[in-house]
């Protein structure tokens, strides 16, 4: 009996050590009750923790808030609303900035 329990623990430890970090984070999030959401960001899918605001997203991307504008599902998110705008599953978000042009 003791031997079986030990084998089980060894196998589990082995399995966990082989898992990529992202899966670990996923497990941890589930364990503490967080959910993840997937949004379309500048044309590419991206997974974020649920309850992420537009302002947090910009900060996480390492972008200066004053230099970018955010369009969510076709509507511009006013700067003053970025802190209170929560992103939800399936949102389509574009982060826009100035580039060279005539």
């Amino acid at each position: 009996m003791a031997q079986t329990a030990l084998d089980f623990l060894r196998a589990s430890a082995n399995l966990f050590s082989r898992m990529p970090t992202s899966v670990w984070i996923g497990f941890l999030s589930l364990a503490v009750g967080f959910r993840m959401i997937t949004i379309c960001l500048n044309g590419e899918n991206r997974t974020l923790p649920a309850a992420c605001t537009v302002a947090q997203l910009i900060a996480d991307l390492g972008l200066g808030a004053r230099r970018v504008a955010v369009v969510r599902n076709g509507e511009v998110v006013p700067r003053e609303a970025q802190n209170s705008t929560l992103l939800v599953e399936g949102d389509c978000v574009d982060v826009i900035h100035m580039v060279g042009g005539g």
């Binding site: 004053r66 900035h97 060279g100």
Partner: protein, 259 residues
């Protein structure tokens, strides 16, 4: 004549330089910054696009090379083919904190990059309603220029020739008619290839010239920017000085021989 007081007024903004320069197509941002400096311009145009999220962290962007205290940024709606897209871009630009003015550009097709007159007029009406100052890029049609002004455009910007073509001012008569009929500033936008094109636009009475490719794609952009600076001043001064009428026969400059 006091040239210091010959200011360009667009809406509530006042400028000493009548040259507007685009920020696209330069080999490097550094070269662009040098060219802008040499051009003496005070207004630079920019486009709006998605941020490249895969760029290396800390990579320099356009704004690292444009001092907002020195240059006034004019956002464009380049690349839009419908009024709805153009209106969306204008709203995004306003959110970026660069004011409520916009160079409205609604194109008809990729081959000519001619402006779509119907979409441009309708977008102008909508944007003016939303409180924008609209600088409308348009063809060199005097009737359309008038209609844009009537729709509330702050400034009308007829093309000299197709964008980036370097053909200069193809229809001088139309540009002159547009200028004569207008109560808002007229800025010739697009098609300028070299300094003389700028001078001609100014001699026809245009209030300013906006160009990009002519400088950015010249062999030596900084030198060309310098030339454009002189060209705009020369053309403006000649316009204000009042040229002589064109005559069919000679008129001697020296007194006739009297001995």
């Amino acid at each position: 004549m006091n040239n210091q007081e010959d200011l360009l007024k667009i809406g509530n903004r006042t400028f000493r330089s009548r040259l507007f320069v685009g920020t696209g197509k330069y080999a490097t941002f550094g070269l662009m910054a040098e060219a802008l400096e040499a051009s003496g311009c005070e207004v630079v145009t920019v486009a709006l696009r998605r941020v490249n999220l895969n760029a290396p962290k800390g990579e320099k962007t356009l704004l690292d090379y444009i001092d907002p205290k020195r240059y006034t940024i004019l956002p464009n709606t380049a690349g839009c083919y419908t009024k709805d897209d153009a209106i969306k871009i204008a709203r995004i630009a306003r959110e970026l904190g660069i004011g409520d003015w916009v160079k409205l550009e609604v194109l008809a097709d990729e081959k000519t990059l001619f402006p779509d007159p119907v979409e441009t007029l309708e977008a102008t009406i909508a944007l003016v309603k939303e409180g924008f100052e609209v600088l409308a890029y348009t063809s060199d049609d005097p009737v359309l220029a008038r209609r844009l002004e009537d729709a509330g455009a702050t400034c009308v910007m007829p093309l000299g020739s197709p964008i980036g073509s370097g053909q200069g001012i193809i229809n001088r008569n139309n540009i002159r008619l547009i200028v004569e009929n207008a109560k808002v500033p007229i800025i010739v936008d697009a098609g300028v290839g070299t300094a003389s094109d700028v001078t001609i636009a100014m001699e026809l009475g245009a209030d300013g010239v906006l160009l990009n490719t002519g400088i950015a794609c010249a062999k030596d952009p900084v030198k060309m920017a310098h030339a454009m600076r002189h060209a705009i001043e020369a053309g403006r001064l000649a316009y204000r000085a009042g040229r002589i009428p064109i005559k069919r026969y000679a008129a001697a400059s020296s007194p006739m021989l009297d001995f």
